[in-house]
């Protein structure tokens, strides 16, 4: 089992979702995030004073998958979120120790699928 976490541009969520659906990946959690990477920030100004904003609005996607779904999920996110310009985001893949479905008490592979 793997946990896939991706940070993408907010306006790319829709196309990422569509790519995931195409590969029959329907379960995901989405949260609002602020973040920065290599991308430079931008300036805001208020009543004559400047402020550098370097935390940009991002969307965080979390998807827990079984092994055979790892590559399709990564492909889908890249397909949906890639524009080729700076700020497209990153995907992190980590091992997932355990997963329990609260309703039934199922664990592991069963609980994810």
């Amino acid at each position: 089992m793997k946990m896939i976490v991706a940070y993408i541009k907010p306006e790319k969520l829709n196309s990422v979702k569509q790519e995931l659906y195409k590969r029959e990946i329907f379960k995901m959690s989405i949260t609002n995030a602020l973040g920065c990477g290599q991308q430079k920030g931008y300036h805001e100004s208020y009543r004559g004073s400047e402020e550098e904003v370097n935390l940009l609005k991002k969307i965080r996607i979390e998807i827990a998958v079984n092994h055979n779904f790892v590559q399709p999920t990564i492909d889908a996110i890249i397909e949906g979120a890639q524009t080729g310009s700076i700020g497209d985001g990153k995907i992190f893949v980590t091992n997932l120790e355990e997963c329990i479905r609260i309703r039934t008490g199922e664990v592991g592979v069963e609980a994810i699928g």
């Binding site: 907010p10 306006e11 829709n14 931008y42 805001e44 100004s45 969307i59």
Partner: protein
């Protein structure tokens, strides 16, 4: 102090009573100084009410668009009041009311630059037979002028370049609005045809609507609105603001229509209040039922459009429509505004706030309705007025917008549109400190 208050009240009541007596033949009767004061005061109150409509437009448009464009839309609305008033002082007032200085038939006249109040009583009680002073005349009409440009602002929201929009608005409101207005209200050729537009279904709302149509055609839809030919919803971000806006507009309409009586004539003003409100109410009910039927759920944003549709519709005939007719006009406006929203959407004319449907379509409907419901006015004259305004305003709007489009561009780059006009045009947030969760 209370004594003075009561005395003043009594004088006002007496003066109002006197107004009723004079109402029949105001042209002959000499209006008393008290009645003049009351008339003029009412016109100033009406002016203030029309002014507050700009806040209504600002909040309505802000509410029906996305939070990343709120600073931009508020900015445009604030600028337009200023542009409208200043250009009206410079040329607009004297283009619209040229004092019989016609230069080209009864199509175009100009009374000179700037404001010049006639001396003494000529600018005061004699100026309009005791109804209002020269200054009141200017400020009331000036408040109207800016509303026409505000209508465009909503239709082009979320994608238009700010500087291009401001240049367009300045020229349009300085020239096109007063020239069309002069045809009717300035005693021009439409007035001679017995064309009736009481408070501006055509002269204000359609004039703004035609410009909005031209602008929407030239601009194209917002990015993400039509994907592979399918219309996607782009949600307005604040329904409470939109509701405040629509109800503030109704509030202001008491001045817009009530002030268009152009005196405090008790019978006429109160009658106009009734027809105006009944039409708004009928618009709300009709739009609710239509939306409920066609969309399965009653859509608040559509019902707010319905309220404004009723108001725009009754504006041309608020003084002459019967009570029954005013309700019918409002109800029909409430239905067609929703059908028009669907129609424009099908044509891929992206109008974020429904300005085309409310101001253009219902402005036309209201103007024609006067010809349908009132024997005194011919349908043909009304139709000629609608068509003439349509041709002139659309041509004028294209003539202004096309050069701007090719010289400086009228549309934001796509990346800036996606990030929002607040950051890209103004370098600021509308809701700083709040994390807005949006993927549009």
């Amino acid at each position: 102090m209370p004594k003075i208050g009561i005395k003043f009240l009594l004088t006002s009541v007496i003066a109002l009573g006197a107004g009723a007596v004079f109402a029949g033949d105001q042209a002959v009767a000499k209006v008393s100084a008290e009645m003049f004061a009351v008339n003029n005061l009412w016109m100033l109150v009406a002016t203030v009410l029309v002014f507050i409509m700009h806040l209504g437009f600002a909040t309505l448009e802000a509410g029906l668009t996305r939070s990343k464009n709120t600073v931009n839309i508020l900015f445009k609305n604030v600028m337009i009041i200023a542009i409208g008033l200043l250009t009206y002082a410079l040329v607009g007032f004297n283009l619209m009311y040229n004092g019989d200085n016609w230069l080209f038939g009864k199509f175009f006249g100009f009374g000179g630059f700037g404001l010049s109040c006639p001396d003494g009583a000529a600018g005061l009680i004699d100026y309009s037979k005791g109804a209002y002073t020269y200054w009141t005349d200017f400020i009331f009409q000036g408040m109207f002028a800016a509303t026409a440009a505000t209508i465009v602002s909503g239709a082009v929201a979320e994608r238009v370049k700010l500087d291009s929009f401001l240049i367009f608005s300045t020229i349009y409101v300085a020239l096109i609005y007063p020239i069309v207005g002069s045809w009717g209200w300035g005693k021009g050729w439409l007035d001679q045809l017995n064309f009736h537009d009481f408070a501006g279904s055509t002269f204000v709302h359609s004039v703004g609507g035609w410009a909005a149509l031209a602008a929407v055609i030239l601009l194209g839809p917002r990015t993400g609105k039509y994907v592979h030919g399918v219309s996607k919803p782009i949600w307005g971000h604040n329904m409470p603001l939109a509701t405040i806006g629509a109800l503030l507009l109704w509030f202001g309409w008491f001045g817009f229509n009530g002030g268009s009586v152009l005196s405090a004539n008790p019978g006429a003003v109160s009658y106009v209040f009734v027809t105006t409100s009944l039409a708004a109410a009928a618009g709300i009910v009709a739009a609710s039922l239509t939306s409920w039927k066609l969309q399965k759920h009653p859509d608040l944003s559509m019902v707010l459009n319905g309220c404004l549709a009723g108001l725009v519709g009754v504006t041309a005939g608020a003084d002459v429509l019967s009570i029954k007719a005013s309700i019918i006009v409002g109800a029909v406006a409430g239905i067609i505004v929703i059908l028009a929203v669907f129609m424009f959407d099908r044509l891929h004319l992206d109008d974020p706030v429904g300005a085309l449907s409310v101001h253009l379509v219902c402005g036309i409907w209201g103007t024609l309705a006067v010809g349908i419901f009132c024997d005194k006015y011919s349908f043909i004259s009304q139709l000629i007025g609608v068509l003439a305004a349509g041709v002139f305003c659309t041509a004028g709007a294209f003539a202004i917008f096309l050069p701007i489009k090719y010289i400086m561009g009228i549309r934001m780059p796509v990346e800036d549109e996606i990030r929002g006009l607040d950051i890209c045009e103004h370098g600021m947030d509308s809701y700083h400190g709040f994390q807005i969760f949006t993927t549009q």
